[in-house]
């Protein structure tokens, strides 16, 4: 007999297999990273040389001092308000549409046939996998330039995201209250309104606020394709090399993003 101190620790077979799998995965990932760097014609020299760094420093130097004439600040404020409105309205509409689509996309109870579940989820995935900016550039063709196309683009993408999250939340909610109502012969819509919805509402609101934080970032750059907001001002002044004005707009963007983050944080605190 060996004493416990002499016993050699052998890694169990199952754990060895896991380690092997993880190692292989990591190797594959490493290969992907190396292949990515090799196949992209990256211009590190254009970036890492002394002249490039000087050009960069000059470029950033031109940002300061920020341009702060009152008239321009008013225009920036108006752009910021437009961006804020786009993100808020887009998120709101998406929450409503997402909830409407989440209902057919979820299995409400154990014996629910949920025939519309798979097709609705397919639609949600399609909406979700096309980014806001791509939606915006498609919508520009029929809605014209301006914040309306941007708002709709945010709505479409976010509907896909929220619809899926809402459906997951509804399916994961405890079934007891709903079953109790159903056993009494209460109809479908009322079961949802009085059993499922109250249970998941805080979670749905928290998801919506979280998406709002993402959407304020997306709305800020909608203007790059011509869909309104601060991004449009940014593109305009950047293409004219008005770097001090660009810097002011960037500062406004960061301030707006931080404001919405803080607002959403406070609201979520109060929810949870």
């Amino acid at each position: 007999m060996t004493t416990p101190a002499e016993r050699v620790f052998v890694v169990p077979a199952a754990q060895r297999a896991t380690r092997l799998r993880v190692a292989l995965l990591l190797l594959a990932l490493l290969a992907l990273v190396v292949a990515s760097f090799l196949t992209l014609d990256l211009q590190w020299r254009a970036f890492a040389s002394v002249e490039a760094l000087q050009a960069m420093a000059r470029f950033i130097g031109e940002f300061f001092p920020l341009y702060t004439s009152t008239g321009f600040l008013l225009r920036v404020a108006q752009g910021a308000w437009e961006t804020l409105a786009m993100s808020a309205l887009g998120t709101l509409l998406a929450a409503v549409l997402g909830l409407l689509l989440a209902l057919p996309a979820s299995r409400m109870h154990a014996s629910d046939p949920a025939r519309a579940r798979a097709p609705t989820r397919l639609v949600l995935n399609l909406l979700r996998s096309i980014p806001e900016l791509v939606w915006a550039s498609l919508l520009l063709i029929s809605a014209g330039l301006g914040p309306f196309a941007g708002t709709l683009a945010l709505t479409l993408h976010t509907t896909g995201v929220l619809g899926r999250l809402f459906a997951e939340a509804i399916e994961n909610a405890p079934l007891g209250p709903g079953d109790a109502l159903r056993a009494q012969g209460v109809g479908k819509s009322r079961v949802f309104a009085w059993a499922a919805l109250p249970q998941v509402l805080p979670q749905l609101l928290s998801y919506t606020l979280y998406r709002w934080e993402m959407n304020i970032r997306a709305a800020a750059v909608m203007g790059v394709v011509g869909a309104g907001g601060l991004g449009q001002l940014l593109m305009f002044h950047m293409s004219l090399f008005h770097m001090d004005k660009t810097a002011t707009i960037l500062a406004a963007m960061i301030a707006l993003v931080l404001l919405v983050d803080a607002l959403s944080y406070v609201l979520r605190r109060r929810l949870g």
Binding site: L25, T39, A46, F47, S129, P131, S142, V221
Partner: protein, 279 residues
């Protein structure tokens, strides 16, 4: 009904209907300025001119563009999109991991005995601000800036993803590391372990699953955003998409959208499989 005779009949009306109605009206009033600011006019879709243009454009989606030359181009650009996302993520990790480690409060030695000393406190706070600024500027704006500095091409895209995602990853890594049980790390530190030892033997084993899962999820997001970066000239599928869109080549647009949806679905699957394998 066979209830007790004395009980009054249940209220048939929602007892809270008045406040509900009131709040709904308030919400509608608040909605009005939003609709104004976003020029929300859905009926523009129904104007005959717009209707004709849209119908023509959507009609040109079929047949999809499927000539061999175009498909080869799409395949090449799709790989470039993935490569930009992957290279960007790799650089972002290089930036994010050291910053997250330096910003993690649990790894503070001075905080073991009461309050954190002033210098490390401000260092951590400053790093947090840097991370917040990095992630507050959308990657598209970074890309616009870098396109000015390094010219059109994938370099701008890689750098833009690297900076934005370094901010996101760094902040979330620090949060994940701080959210777990701090005891193992503190015990190691108290017994003379270095900060790196405390990280590798206490924090990392405890949080590895969550950290990897978040990283893989972000990689999936990076693929989505690298498409968009092409819009400002940073290469990849997005750049081709915007070119075809400007020329109203509906068939090419539809093919690329389809490829894009498949790519995102694939990334979704791979990411889910990876997370399962690691968990």
């Amino acid at each position: 009904m066979t209830g007790p005779a004395a009980a009054p009949p249940p209220a048939l009306r929602d007892p809270a209907w008045l406040p509900r109605l009131g709040w709904s009206i308030v919400a509608l009033v608040l909605l009005w300025p939003l609709l104004q600011a976003t020029e929300f006019r859905p009926w523009v879709f129904l104007q005959p001119d717009n209707l004709r243009v849209s119908a023509h454009f959507v009609g040109s989606f079929v047949p999809l563009a499927t000539d061999a030359e175009f498909l080869a181009l799409v395949a090449r650009e799709t790989w470039r999109t993935v490569a930009i996302a992957t290279a960007g993520m790799a650089l972002a990790l290089l930036l994010a991991v050291p910053m997250a480690l330096a910003a993690t409060r649990v790894l503070s030695v001075s905080a073991l005995s009461g309050r954190m000393a002033r210098a490390p406190f401000w260092l951590r706070q400053m790093l947090r601000w840097v991370l917040i600024v990095l992630r507050s500027v959308p990657e598209l704006v970074w890309a616009l800036v870098f396109v000015r500095v390094v010219g059109l091409g994938p370099t701008a895209g890689v750098l833009a993803i690297a900076l934005t995602y370094a901010g996101m990853l760094g902040k979330v890594y620090a949060e994940i590391l701080e959210s777990g049980d701090p005891h193992p790390a503190q015990t190691l530190l108290r017994n003379g372990g270095s900060r790196l030892q405390a990280f590798f033997y206490a924090l990392l084993p405890g949080n590895a699953g969550e950290l990897t899962s978040y990283t893989v999820y972000r990689w999936e997001c990076a693929i989505r955003s690298s498409v968009v970066l092409g819009f400002v000239g940073a290469g990849g599928l997005g750049q081709q998409l915007i070119v075809s869109l400007r020329m109203f080549e509906g068939g090419e647009v539809a093919t690329m959208l389809l490829v894009f949806v498949l790519l995102v679905a694939l990334a979704d699957r791979v990411s889910a499989a990876l997370r399962r394998a690691i968990a």
